[in-house]
Symmetry: C2
Subunit: 216 residues, 2 copies
């Protein structure tokens, strides 16, 4: 890791494993839960895009002289734990997870973009260009809630649980990888809280887009 700041391998490593595992989990959800072949292909499409992101990140790690496997290793525990705690039970939960999960990841890329070298920033921008891909999930969930408004409460709780687990795993990672935390914020305690607040706010906007009313 020649001229890059010390947290860059961590940053690329956590994003790489997040993409690899998102790819595999979305594919699994598509195979297991999609009610039609069109739905299966739509979630598959999102999964394949995550894989393309993984490759960009892996190649960037390699070109920086880092071992991708080593760079990902510290983050497999928290990310696997998140996926296990948020395994969707049905197709609508899978859609909400796809939208919320990729949304949180993109927020994270956006935060990261400000703190990395030019080359890595181009990669981040390439990933962010895929932002519209999970829009089909919003459309499907909105239609389902219109047909059965009772779904709204259950899915809102589901989404809140997901973001709660994400913040808790995120704090965990920040504690054990201070270089990564330092890269994402400007080293001041308040900034971590502010970043989490921003992520929570962005999550709120996604909940509105899904038509999920904030619970009590």
């Amino acid at each position: 890791m020649s001229d890059s700041s010390p947290g860059v391998a961590d940053l690329l490593g956590v994003l790489a494993y997040a993409e690899l595992t998102a790819f595999l989990r979305l594919a699994e959800d598509a195979a297991r839960l999609a009610p039609t072949l069109t739905d299966r292909a739509a979630l598959g499409d999102l999964a394949a895009a995550e894989y393309a992101h993984f490759r960009l990140l892996r190649d960037r790690l390699a070109s920086l002289g880092a071992d991708p496997e080593e760079a990902m290793a510290p983050f497999t525990g928290p990310l696997d734990a998140w996926h296990e705690q948020t395994a969707p039970g049905d197709w609508l939960e899978a859609l909400v997870k796809a939208y919320v999960g990729t949304g949180i990841a993109l927020d994270f890329y956006r935060e990261a973009a400000a703190h990395v070298d030019e080359e890595t920033r181009r990669l981040v921008e390439e990933v962010l260009a895929d932002e519209g891909r999970s829009q089909f999930a919003v459309e499907r969930v909105t239609v389902a809630i219109k047909e059965d408004p009772k779904l709204s409460g259950r899915l809102a709780l589901w989404a809140r649980r997901m973001v709660g687990e994400a913040l808790s795993q995120g704090q965990h990672v920040a504690a054990v990888r201070p270089e990564l935390a330092a890269l994402l914020v400007s080293a001041e305690e308040e900034d971590i809280a502010r970043m989490f607040a921003k992520l929570t706010e962005a999550h709120g906007r996604r909940m509105e887009a899904l038509g999920l009313t904030p619970g009590p």
Copy 2:
């Protein structure tokens, strides 16, 4: 399906669903069975390539005026059944399945290439260009057998079961979709037998490449 022969939608449909489901199953095997992140990424790479093939096939169906979902529907039963009967129990079985399964699929593309229109043939060639992708599986399996020669018998049986199930599902499909069978062979009874013989022969070559000795 304007100027194409009547079986082309069937052909593209069966290949499309085969690719979609291969993508999802390989991703699942990668998530579930890969012993290292590098292995997981390698199988993920193969899975993502299957997804790219699926998109080519789906787009070709759409450009022919066919509904991809309708074209795939007759084949979901046999292909899902094949995957259920051949769910790998460990990483080596997953590798053998990836190599044998994509090999059978490519044989099928090769047979098909002779019988389709120019545009569809170009698509088939694009898919066939990916032939080398499962080579990593051969390398991994060969190394494992060198380390523990006892594995050879078990994996050879496993491969034989897979090809047996594939032939049985294939005959099933040929019986219910005579247009598809007619497209692949020149309508004569012997030709179906000959095609199956060719596929079995190609399978034998793959077994040799894996270092799996033919059983008694």
